[in-house]
Amino acid sequence: MAELTMVEAINLALRQEMEKDESVHVMGCDVGVNGGVFRVTDGLCDRFGEDRVMDTPLAESAIVGMATGMAVKGLKPVCEMQFSGFSYFAFHQLESQAARMRWRTRGRYQVPMVVRMPYGGGVRALEHHSESREVYYAHTPGLKMVIPSGPRNARALLVSAIRDPDPVVFFEGKLIYRSFREEVPEKEETLPIGESRIARDGDDLTVVTYGAMTQRVLEAADVLSGEDGVEVEVIDLLTLSPLDDAPVAESVRKTGRLVIVHEAHRSFGPGAELIARINEKAFYYLEAPVQRVTGYDTIVPYFAREQAYLPSVERIVAGARTALEF
């Protein structure tokens, strides 16, 4: 097994799926000759040619709109939005068309398409390059919304997303693109979309998170274990929609305390939905109000101050202590 970064792991998933299935196409700005601005599609154009690795003109709406047509006709496009902050140019194609095609035609057509996009802060990028607006997509019926937290699950989830019969929006955390490596087997691996994972076992407190924040939550869990003797159960959602709430409810029934961590804005964020679900499924087990440690309800500031926007290990630890001390 090779130790891969998330960039390399996603590249592996694309390469293997393209080898196995001729209908898989990669398309987007700079994905061909340049191999993508983050090098996620590096080498694919050389290997599979320009017909299958398509450098498109600069038009997100047409990328996703054309991909929808390709998908209806039986191809499996994997689109790249250069940054999630530019995916709004394609939003109406995703919301008005891709997400509704199956429903509108009563099952006659389907749109097996993946729209990959880097998201999130922490890499000193420009405006529009640091946001986490996964909620737009998780809120849209007909789309699936997947956010891996590391190289190995990114690879396995992307393979599943490509094979999924419905449109999947696939967020890739820039902060973890290259920040650590993991063993990723050459042999095919998939993970079911819509299933979370327990990233760390614990009995005292449940922390739910996903994506790039998973690393910070695990760090905070170590701090709490070392300094407070508290064992945190960390749940990494992996998919936001459909949301796998059962393991969260189960964990809360055990720990009685819940903290939710995401870099997305606080209001109407994933945390709000999770709290509603826990109220429905485990309300009587709660021993403290659920805490949210999130991005603030403002636009991510330019990078000199973005760390103050993002949930830090300190803020996560403080949120956990509030839940524990209640």
Binding site: N34, A62, R124, R266, Y296, P301, A304, R305
Partner: protein
């Protein structure tokens, strides 16, 4: 029922005045005052030296990613120079030369590129929109501003900038169409620098020129040698006159070259050859203009040297100023909440206060 050629009303000209040796076509040479000629030269050099310094500071980790203007000074200064203070300028993210001409302070751009929102402040009285990063998204604004200026009957205009890649986005086409329909005083300046990151102009559109896109919207279009400031200035003057008279919008395609990286996160070696870069080096807009000015005895070696010295000092002192402001600003992350709304809603005030309190805790 005949089948015959429609006979389009418009054709597209290509305009070039200075040859690569800086020799002008006498019939086409525009009459520009000496002072303006020297101001334009100074502005081009100033923008270039500023970016050269910025590239160095970026490599040292003092600045973040930015998009250098190097190579496109003529296409920006030649167009922006036809504006007066009451006209409006609507940039994308690579228009530092145009912004500096309009009055944006060097220290402001440095703050922006160092990741401070305060760098986005636009000096009072400077009628420019802020840097717009989502490609083509700013173009319709220049139509709206043009419309408002037309309503005022003031004879002023709006000029907007964008790249070749931007002409593929819907916002570009929709804006051009609206400008035509509402006959707004808008000048669309397309800086065709041959690449949208790695994607060459030929892959952006099958059309032979970008200027000809104007034809479909019923407005005039022209293609100019974008590294020839006299040609750029002439085309922009014509367009401005048209706009001021109430005759509507114009699309100007400036054929130029991005001589540096796309942004500091980019590796041009992946998609273009050194030979190509060298070919364009020979068409350097500053060199060409200098030859012309020198032949006209407006410039000489000594004057150039003293200008270079002066600019070197100016850029360095701008850095000192920016650095000092950064030190003052550093401790106030809560500014991220300010200016989101005209009046801050209560829940945001609470979040802002929590952040200040946290800060106080951290600082003892």
């Amino acid at each position: 029922m005949p089948r015959k050629e429609i006979g389009l009303e418009s054709t597209i000209d290509y305009l070039s005045i200075l040859d690569t040796k800086g020799k002008p076509d006498k019939d086409l040479e525009p009459r520009i005052g000496k002072e303006l000629l020297l101001d334009m030269h100074r502005a081009m050099v100033r923008a270039r030296r500023f970016d050269e310094h910025q590239l160095r500071w970026q490599r040292q980790g003092r600045l973040g990613t930015f998009a250098p203007v190097i190579g496109q000074e003529a296409s920006q200064i030649g167009t922006v120079a036809v504006l007066d203070d009451q006209d409006w300028m609507v940039p994308a993210y690579r228009q530092s030369a145009a912004a500096l001409w309009r009055g944006t302070p060097l220290a402001g751009l440095l703050l922006y590129n160092a990741g401070y929102n305060e760098g986005g402040e636009i000096p009072e009285g400077q009628n420019d929109l802020p840097i717009a990063i989502p490609v083509a998204s700013q173009i319709p604004h220049a139509v709206g501003i043009g419309y408002a200026l037309k309503q005022e009957g003031s004879g002023h205009l709006a000029m907007t900038y964008f790249g070749d890649g931007a002409t593929s986005e819907g916002d570009f086409h929709e804006a051009m169409n609206f400008a035509g329909v509402f006959n707004t005083p808008t000048i669309f300046v397309c800086e065709n620098n041959q690449y949208a990151i790695s994607v060459p102009r030929e892959k952006q559109t099958r059309a032979g020129t970008l200027a000809q896109k104007a034809i479909a919207y019923g407005i005039p279009g022209i293609q100019v040698d974008g590294n020839d400031i006299l040609a750029v200035y002439s085309a922009a003057s014509e367009a401005a006159e048209r706009a001021r008279k109430g005759d509507g919008p114009t699309l100007i395609e400036c054929v130029t070259y991005r001589m540096a990286v796309h942004t500091t996160a980019d590796d041009p070696g992946k998609y273009r050859t050194q030979k190509e870069e060298e070919q364009w080096q020979k068409k350097d807009p500053i060199e060409r203009f200098r030859k012309y000015l020198t032949a006209r005895k407006l410039l000489n070696k000594k004057k150039i040297e003293s200008l270079e010295e002066e600019l070197e000092k100016e850029v360095k002192s701008a850095w000192d100023e920016a650095e000092q402001r950064m030190a003052e600003l550093d401790r106030h992350p809560e500014v991220m909440f300010d200016h989101l709304y005209g009046e801050m809603p209560a829940y945001l005030g609470t979040q802002r206060k929590a952040m200040t309190d946290e800060d106080d805790d951290a600082n003892g």
